[in-house]
């Protein structure tokens, strides 16, 4: 469905060259759900904008839905759907009017577009809002309208740029219900960007992590976590001196000595299987004369994966608003 080779985009901002995307190779199979995950400025949206023909690549190629984005943008556009980061509906237009216009943009007759608009209003639960303007809708309703606009022509491939950003948890769950249903019923290929870790983790079957305009990891969330992050044991001690001893002990029992971090009286140790490693670690601590006040184990998150790969946390600069 998507084949990108050495896809690159350079911007010139105030005479400075910004390498937004530095040579991305990507293949996405039909029917899959792929999440592009990364911090702000990682190149997620720029990549998406190139794949959706909004932005011509500086170099490299991309074939989307069977056509080259640079040479046959009109053919790509006819086959893909796009739900942008911002609101897709014009403020001055009634909800249903926008859906009908959108259908006509894809070559439907007015009658066919009207029929499709009503279908989508029902599908996304917007029937009661048909005659309203987008400004009067709730955040969740607006987002559902954006998705409806992206689905008018029944695309095989739908791009979603941060589909649930700025929504409350309930609306977010609701949006996801619609997106997953879409996939089950129509087999739509979904390609989305997100900076919500849990979202990429639980929803996408494949996670592509980008940073600094490059792909730094690519696989299922489970595989990435097992291979790149591993489990964690976290203990707290009574004093910082004890914590230092506990860290030294940890370095001798773990197979990855660099996976030990100390923060005040908290010691965090990366291990392959935490439930098995914890009793051994606690025994070793006791022998060294350190008593652990608390001890817990944790499965890794995608943030741990990102931390391992870049030394930074995804959530550092990028707390969801």
């Amino acid at each position: 469905m998507i084949h990108a080779r050495a896809l690159t985009r350079v911007f010139t901002v105030k005479k400075e060259t910004v390498h937004a995307v530095r040579g991305i190779d990507l293949d996405v199979e039909a029917g899959s759900l792929v999440a592009l995950l990364g911090p702000n400025g990682a190149g997620k949206s720029t990549t998406l904008r190139m794949l959706t023909t909004l932005l011509p690549p500086s170099s490299g190629t991309a074939t989307v839905a069977g056509h080259d984005v640079a040479r046959e943008p009109a053919r790509v556009r006819a086959r893909i759907g796009y739900v942008g980061q911002k609101s897709s509906a014009g403020e001055n237009f009634q909800v249903r009017d926008e859906l009908v216009s959108q259908g006509r943009c894809y070559g439907m007759t007015t009658a066919a577009a009207a029929e499709r608009a009503d279908e989508l209003l029902d599908l996304l639960g917007l029937r009661a809002q048909a005659r309203r303007k987008p400004g009067t809708l709730s955040g969740g309703q607006r987002r559902r309208l954006d998705i409806a606009l992206g689905l008018v022509h029944r695309p095989d491939l739908l791009f979603l740029d941060e589909p649930s950003t700025g929504l409350d948890p309930r609306s977010r769950a609701d949006i996801w219900e619609h997106i997953t249903r879409l996939r089950e019923v129509y087999g739509t290929t979904l390609f989305m960007t997100t900076h919500y870790l849990e979202e990429a983790d639980t929803m996408a079957e494949r996670v592509v992590i980008v940073d600094g305009g490059r792909i730094i990891a690519d696989g299922t969330a489970g595989r990435l976590k097992n291979e790149l992050a591993g489990d964690h044991i976290t203990i707290t001690t009574r004093t910082e001196t004890e914590a230092a001893t506990a860290a030294a002990v940890a370095a001798s029992v773990t197979e990855a000595p660099d996976g030990v971090t100390v923060d005040g009286t908290t010691v965090r140790v990366r291990v392959a299987r935490a439930p098995a490693a914890l009793p051994a670690y606690l025994r070793a601590l006791e022998e060294a004369g350190v008593g652990a006040a608390t001890a817990e184990t944790a499965r890794p998150t995608l943030d741990d994966v990102f931390l391992t790969l870049t030394g930074r946390s995804l959530t550092d600069d990028d707390l969801p608003a």
Partner: protein
Amino acid sequence: MTTFLRDTAIVFSREITPSLREPAGLVLEMGQPLVFLFLYGALLDGAVGSSWQWFVPGILVMMCLTGPMGAGYTMLVELIGGSLERLLVTPLNRTAMLVGRTMKVTVVLFCQAVLIVVLALPLGFRLYPVGALAGIAMLLLFATGLGALSFVLAIRSAPDGTLFWLVTQALMFPLLLLSGVFLPMDGGPDWLRVVGDVNPVTHVVDAQRALFSGDLTHPSILYGTAAAALIAAVGLVAGNRALRKGV
């Protein structure tokens, strides 16, 4: 070509639908020109000969500047809001997006011009049908160019839109004041008349006054038409280029 015409029709119908749903908005938009017409026109009565014959074309040109120049604002809002981006991902023809929008602007202007003329009739405005039709046709040509230029400006002003306000505010009043829309320029100092002469709006205003007085052979009509055609050509070429370059 057929897809181009079809796409233009789609864009036009999308744009015109809100106005058709709330036609009162079209009249409200005319508030300022109407106040100008009745108050200013009454003041000028007697000062410039047959004041209505002189003032109504001026008001039409003023509407021709404010409407189409403001049209870019609607595009700017869509550009910032994200709905223009959505339309750019559809197979819609890029030029049709511009032409369809410009057509909406000119249709609205046409309705407003007819309304102004009709309202001015009981005040003593004399209608010369051939001249008036030719005058409105020239205005629509002028409006097409101004609308397109305003869209270009909107595209250039994204994402924050400051440039749009800066340019429209800085241009609108000098263009209007230095064209003799409100007061005759003949009595002004030489420099003022020179500035007026290079202002395309002056030529359009002069031509409008000749046409609305039924003077169909006045030389100013030639200059006015040339000025309007020039603006239209520049606007459409620049608009096309801006949309193709990507937003």
